[in-house]
Symmetry: C2
Subunit: 318 residues, 2 copies
């Protein structure tokens, strides 16, 4: 299916008036798109606009695109009108499968056939969502992180009936729109980011349930320990830097045995030579030209910058 | 045992010349302490001083205490001399149990009896470490996060023979020294922060092993998704804010069923009424006077500040 160049798209439709739908609308407005928001009932419009106003403060602070304006938002209670001239559709209706399926049955009919429709679902598969859609080949998951106007990540994956080029188009579109797209090759429950987040969350729940830590201790531990590092580098690169000049290879060889220790309730995989190679090669690829000293300098600069920024932000909040 | 007021301590000993020992030495120097570093061999001193110089750049950027100076560092290869007049001892020798036990056998004899000795161990229990120490009642775990001169967290827990007042003293001392102490009530393998970090790490290893995600995707997902939020609020408060005005209670009631889904390989605990109450009360206590709007504003301000700070830091690194 020939599709419009993602770089020339100017009109997007945002389906849903909750925090995610409103967050997407605000984000696209800030990136200078014309946005049509579908609201289920006209009474939802003031709430939607309030959410957009809140988002706008942060978006303004980060820098709006030339021409960006909240005046370029149109609200409608007609789904047909909302998507009539849309060149991209972001769907963010509540996480109830029959509801999603019903919306996709309609969207599949109403949205021009060459237009990609992306779902903000945080856990359902597109295979399930697209079950009743008459034109499922252009439907993909486009899962943002909350708030969608501040977190760059969008996880993209198709369903059983999705065409490959729809996934590629969504990736190109999100990237052009300033997002950081992550294309998954298969439908894994929880995608990537939510799986990692869920692992930490469940370990936290276990610890609270067992009296090993309190809610306050869990949050204190993260915000004053690994949290700030993860804003700069992910868990792999954090260990690559933590391993010193030997990097991830040193880390795995040194701390590999710790994978057998009861340091979490999650049993680790076997550290096979193949897994070791994937981890080491992956980190070295990400590091590129940056050696241990450059990476350390980058990490430290980031941590200092975050510490100072949060200090200033806290003072500003008071 | 009567101990010196933690607020009047001026002399600390740092045992070990690796990144953790050097990091602690740098941190205490920046906080205007006199520091004696024990190095195993004189040849280790230049490396130790280089690590301290690197740390000093970040510490200077964050602001040194009046009187702080690298000239107040003394290095020695004599353990006796290193601890002779120390009012606090931070031990950071390699993570090898027989080595730790041998050092504590000596430290227990050499360090004045009223002085607390804290181990930087990231996983061993103090019960094991203090096994051969003749004066174990003043030995505690004081586990920092890397780099110790930038991450505020210090996890504190005693061993079987540790006196309660030694734990309380260490907590007061670290707090006075500008750290964020977290006192655990029992020896849990991996403490608090490492357990949470290990859960995410093992899920990441599983995903890479199973071809569900690459190293790059894992790190992209975290740094562009949940990572920056965790620099501002921990996993509990992130969900408390994410739950909207209904907070953690809404979150658990709405997403509780997701705990049964295969969104990570870690099986969740049963969401009992008691666990629900602990989570909700814990979050409400942490939130205090701040309602949903105030918390959202704080989160957004923090995310914007971090995004801008990292953008500036990256430009500065180039």
């Amino acid at each position: 299916m020939p599709r419009k160049d993602p770089a020339v798209v100017t009109r997007v439709a945002s389906i849903g008036a909750g925090p995610i739908g409103a967050g997407w609308a605000a984000y696209f407005l800030a990136r200078s798109y014309d946005v049509t928001s579908y609201v289920h009932a006209a009474t939802e419009e003031p709430g939607l606009r309030r959410l957009i106003d809140t988002a706008w403060e942060s978006l303004t602070e980060l820098g709006l695109e030339p021409g960006a304006s909240r005046d370029r938002l149109r609200c409608t209670t007609s789904l047909a009108e909302a998507v009539a001239d849309a060149e991209f559709v972001q769907e963010s209706v509540p996480e109830v499968l029959p509801l999603k399926q019903a919306i996709y049955a309609e969207l599949g009919r109403l949205v021009p056939a060459d237009v990609v429709i992306a779902s903000s679902t945080s856990g359902m598969t597109m295979t399930d969502i697209q079950a009743r859609c008459p034109t499922p080949e252009r439907t993909v998951v486009g899962h943002p992180f909350n708030p969608p106007y501040l977190m760059p990540l969008v996880e993209i994956v198709g369903g059983a009936k999705t065409a490959k080029d729809a996934v590629a188009w969504a990736e190109a579109f999100y990237r052009h729109a300033g997002k950081v797209p992550l294309v998954m090759t298969k439908e894994v429950p929880g995608f990537v980011a939510t799986r990692l987040q869920e692992a930490i969350w469940r370990e936290a729940l276990h610890m609270v349930a067992n009296g090993e830590a309190t809610v306050e201790q869990i949050d204190t531990a993260i915000t004053n320990g690994p949290g700030p590092r993860w804003a700069i580098m992910g868990p792999c690169m954090v260990f690559h830097v933590g391993g010193g000049p030997g990097g991830m290879a040193y880390c795995l060889d040194q701390f590999g045995p710790a994978l057998k220790l009861p340091w979490t309730r999650l049993i680790a995989p076997e550290l096979t030579p193949e897994l070791r190679t994937r981890m080491v090669d992956g980190c070295e690829e990400l590091a590129g030209e940056r050696d241990f000293h450059a990476l350390t300098r980058e990490m430290n600069k980031g941590l200092v910058a975050i510490a100072k920024a949060l200090r200033a932000a806290r003072e500003g909040t008071r």
